[in-house]
């Protein structure tokens, strides 16, 4: 015969077991959530003598990759790279160009915006030599469970547009980046995907910094827009 104290104790144990089982079950059903956060090294670059406006869209700043599983037994993946993208690109661009102005909206949209906050309005828009718009076109990943390889991999594809201040095109090109982390790294799947994403982002920065001045149309534009040939102060921001 069990007394009430023993019954209460047993009930508490059962409740604990139930909560534990439920949390295990829920954790098994949830998505693999990866938030890529990293500091990137200061690039060693000789700044190009131009003043560039840079537009990073909200989609870019909050970029999140979501991959739903093909089968019910698999877990979905959510990889948030937006914050790391902004950190990387700002670091690269600040050192690649002599002057950088971050635009909250593109010139064609500025007049339509009533309240643009910190946006450089058309009246306040400083004189710039070009507007650079990087966009993330694609992100793909591979994990050992999918490929039978021994590495975690991330591919990134960017579309980069360089326009004149009046938004007429100078050049447009695509750029890829790749990062991998060996399985032997002894990380969990989420940490390994994050590490691979950081490697891919470093690669993206390296690819852009090294190859930007080599794009033929950019070379021509750079020759025409040297700051020393046409000082910014001549028609710059009041």
């Amino acid at each position: 015969m069990l007394d009430s104290t023993t019954i209460a104790s047993k009930m508490a144990q059962l409740r604990g077991l139930f909560v534990l089982s439920l949390s295990l079950l829920l954790s098994a059903c949830g998505a693999n959530q990866v938030v890529v956060q990293s500091q990137f090294p200061k690039p060693v670059l000789d700044p190009l003598p131009v003043k560039v406006g840079v537009f990073l869209s909200e989609e870019f700043k909050t970029h999140t990759f979501v991959d739903d599983p093909a089968e019910r037994t698999e877990r979905s993946w959510v990889v948030e790279t937006g914050a790391a993208q902004v950190t990387l690109w700002q670091s690269i661009l600040t050192h690649l160009f002599e002057q950088v102005v971050y635009l909250d909206a593109l010139p064609e949209n500025l007049d339509e915006e009533e309240d643009v906050g910190s946006t450089e309005s058309s009246a306040e828009l400083p004189r710039i030599d070009a507007i650079l718009i990087p966009t993330i076109a694609d992100l793909q990943y591979a994990i050992p469970a999918q490929t039978n390889s021994k590495v975690y991999e991330i591919w990134l594809k960017y579309d980069v547009t360089l326009n004149n201040p009046d938004m007429s095109p100078i050049s447009e090109w695509s750029m890829t980046a790749y990062g991998k982390t060996p399985e032997a790294f002894m990380l969990g799947a989420q940490e390994a995907v994050e590490a691979a994403a950081v490697v891919a982002l470093r690669d993206a920065g390296a690819n852009f910094a090294v190859n930007f001045p080599k794009v033929p149309a950019v070379q021509t534009w750079l020759q025409k827009n040297r700051i020393d040939a046409e000082p910014v102060s001549s028609g710059g921001k009041p």
């Binding site: 060693v44 060996p182 920065g205 390296a206």
Partner: protein
């Protein structure tokens, strides 16, 4: 209970005593010239792993092992840590952008920011290590179980690993290659298990690390 604990302790001690090393075959080829007779002095050396191949990466821990081997034997040799060097010269030594030939260093030095940074680091030799260790064969099977009276394994496993590494030495003072060291090692590891698995590991990568490390030490150090 005490008897069981003693038994387990004795078994672990026995297994530890039996943790033998497997045999490794190693081959080292060396070709170096313009060796610094007085050593590298106050200048620094950097050891970097090649990671541009699609199917393998030179392991970071191998590069670290070689660096530690050299510095353990001659503390006077200043070797910049790989990650610190890559960060300080980002983005010029990433897998995509790293120079593949000494002549490419000339181009890099044409950029004032890079030239200043390299001058600041006072790098005399840049040593690129390219290669990896891979499992070439594995056989056998092992079964482990846990019961109310204890746990144990039974079976036999064996595998063989092979390493292939090449270290290429670039001299910064005359922007030329001054040496190449190749090492190939292979070895068979075994793991018999009767209740307790007894690993008999062939230190394939470790032997390759010591081989390359020793040859680099002889090149860089005035004491060897």
């Amino acid at each position: 209970m005490k008897l069981t604990m003693n038994l387990i302790r004795n078994c672990i001690t026995f297994a530890g005593a039996l943790a033998l090393q497997g045999c490794v075959t190693a081959k080292i080829d060396e070709m170096t010239y313009n060796r610094p007779e007085a050593g590298v002095g106050a200048s620094s050396v950097v050891l970097l792993g090649r990671r541009h191949a699609s199917d393998y990466d030179t392991e970071k821990d191998f590069v670290q092992c070689v660096r530690q081997h050299i510095q353990r034997r001659d503390e006077t040799i200043a070797i910049i840590q790989e990650e610190a060097f890559l960060d300080q010269l980002y983005p010029w030594f990433e897998p995509r952008t790293a120079p593949m030939h000494p002549s490419a260093i000339k181009e890099l030095l044409g950029q004032p920011a890079v030239a200043n940074k390299l001058q600041e680091l006072d790098t005399q030799y840049m040593i690129w290590i390219d290669g990896n260790t891979e499992r070439v064969d594995a056989a056998g099977s092992m079964t482990c179980g846990v019961g109310p009276t204890g746990a144990g394994c039974f079976g036999f496993g064996t595998w063989s690993d092979a390493s292939n590494y090449e270290a290429v030495i670039w001299d910064f003072s005359n922007l030329a290659e001054v040496g190449r060291i190749n090492t190939s090692t292979s070895g068979q590891s075994y793991m018999p298990a009767v209740v307790i698995p007894i690993p008999i590991i062939a230190p394939v990568q470790g032997t390759a690390c010591e081989g390359i490390g020793e040859q680099l030490l002889q090149f860089l150090s005035a004491s060897y």
